[in-house]
Amino acid sequence: MKTGLTVFLATAVAFGASWLGLVYGPIAQLGGQQQTVVLQSGDTWPQQRTGDATLGLQVYRAYGCAACHTQQARQSGVADEITLTSLGSDKAADLKDYVKTLLVLPSLLEASNTIVANLEAWNGQVPLTLYSGQDSAVVATLADKLKAGGLKTDARVVASGPDLARGWGVRQSVAADYLYDVPVQLGSLRAGPDLSIIGVRSPDVNWQLQHLYAPRSLVKSSTMPAFRFLFTVRKAGAQPAPDALVLPPEFAPAAGLEVVPTAEARQLAAYLVSLKATAPLYEAPFTPVTAAK
């Protein structure tokens, strides 16, 4: 390259291409995103945070919580699963024969080995997972045929991955989860656990406040620093204040004193409790577990 101009042009082209692809492209595609619809329901997702929770995001930012905590659950796999939930009046051996007769169907041919293996390993008690894999046609066919045979099945889409198995999410985090966050606090290091569904794991605001004041009072080997500056220790009146923290003796202040959260602490706790990314979406489908008692 002989002149400054050629260097300038080459650099401009290279930079411009990546700007178009990684800055303009995502903004054009995702920048105007609106609320999306939860699968199999009329609810919209996400819901705007209100009140203290909105301010809590700014507290989260101001103290750099994203330096140790992430808010992104990862998913490494997905499987279509069909489980037999009731034998009806059939016996286990009859069921095995019935299912084996179905395996000649064209849509079930490829999966027949896995299904036979599951049947052979079966202990005779429901529920029995007949198939768990990537082929939705297998699940659809089995569901139809078994229902026609008077048996009850449960077809589910199951999201899997180490994060999800650890209870850090029920599905992976997607763009829709961060729609109303300014700034988005995804985090890049898990010195502390992931927080994308902390509002489901620890929904109690008082737990969050106590954890901020004295992390080791709740998690013995926690390496989280104590955030005592978010609280005021003051003289207790005749009655303890309604929002005073209830602490175990080794973490409680001296007698006659009580620990009261400041506004920032309350906002941060409200924000944390609002983190509940559990809605199934089109881009992250899964079958939620519904408990009807």
């Binding site: 595609q29 995702l30 699968l39 199999q40 329901s41 998913q75 490494s76 796999g77 997905v78 279509d80 939930t85 990537q134 939705s136 699940v139 659809a140 569901a143 009850k152 099945t153 449960d154 077809a155 589910r156 889409v157 992976q172 997607v174 763009a175 199934p280 089109y282 881009e283 992250a284 489908p285 899964f286 079958t287 939620p288 519904t290 009807a292 008692k293």
Partner: protein, 201 residues
């Protein structure tokens, strides 16, 4: 000027020069190969720039194939939602009913009957008491709360109440609901408890 660096190679004050040699052919070949195989990777893993395709899904078709089927679990979720919005106000979220408001559905023989058509008439037509439910008499009036619901939603609600709170009975499909709705015809009148008792299941 004192060069304090008296090591192996004292830096001369002459400015560095460069030879003219070009990039060797092998690195150009490697670059082209990486461009190609990387392109293959991009083809199979990028979801073709679809905004909805997230890893581990590789394409829009794969994502579509994993959308949950309408099956028992999905109907239950929908049924629960509709029940809590429409029926739970009077019959209770736990199906226990409220004295003076609505009889219980949990353990009700009308709900758990083997056939579903008699049960389906109740939300589609309305019911005026007295009616005996689980041994107790209830003299209340129920409007046709399910008449405005689509068939699939009503089927989901009925399936839900037949399989919750200890009840164990069969499903109700949208087709079944449609049959009953057609049989009732337009302008349904609320039934009385006697009418209901006389109706086949």
């Amino acid at each position: 000027m004192n060069d304090e660096n008296k090591s192996c190679c004292p830096p001369p004050e002459a400015e560095p020069t460069a030879t003219r040699s070009a990039a060797p052919m092998w690195i150009i070949v490697v670059t082209l190969m990486v461009l190609f195989f990387g392109g293959l990777y991009l083809d199979s893993h990028s979801g073709w720039f679809d905004a909805k395709v997230y890893a581990p899904y590789n394409s829009a078709e794969m994502l579509e194939s994993f959308q949950p089927l309408s099956g028992a679990a999905q109907a239950a979720a929908q049924g629960k939602k509709v029940y809590e919005a429409v029926c739970g106000i009077c019959h209770g979220v736990d199906g226990a009913g409220k004295p003076g408001q609505a009889p219980p559905l949990a353990g009700s023989e009308w709900v758990t009957a083997k056939g579903m058509s008699r049960l389906t008439h109740i939300p589609l037509q309305g019911l005026n008491g007295p009616i005996k439910v689980a041994g107790k008499d209830w003299t209340l009036n129920m409007a046709a709360m399910g008449a405005a619901l689509p068939d699939s939603d009503l089927a989901a609600v009925l399936t839900y109440i037949r399989n919750s709170w200890g009840n164990k009975a069969g499903e109700v499909s949208a087709d079944d609901v449609k049959k009953v709705r057609d049989a009732i015809g337009g302008h349904p009148q609320p039934m009385s408890g006697d009418d209901l008792t006389k109706m086949p299941e």
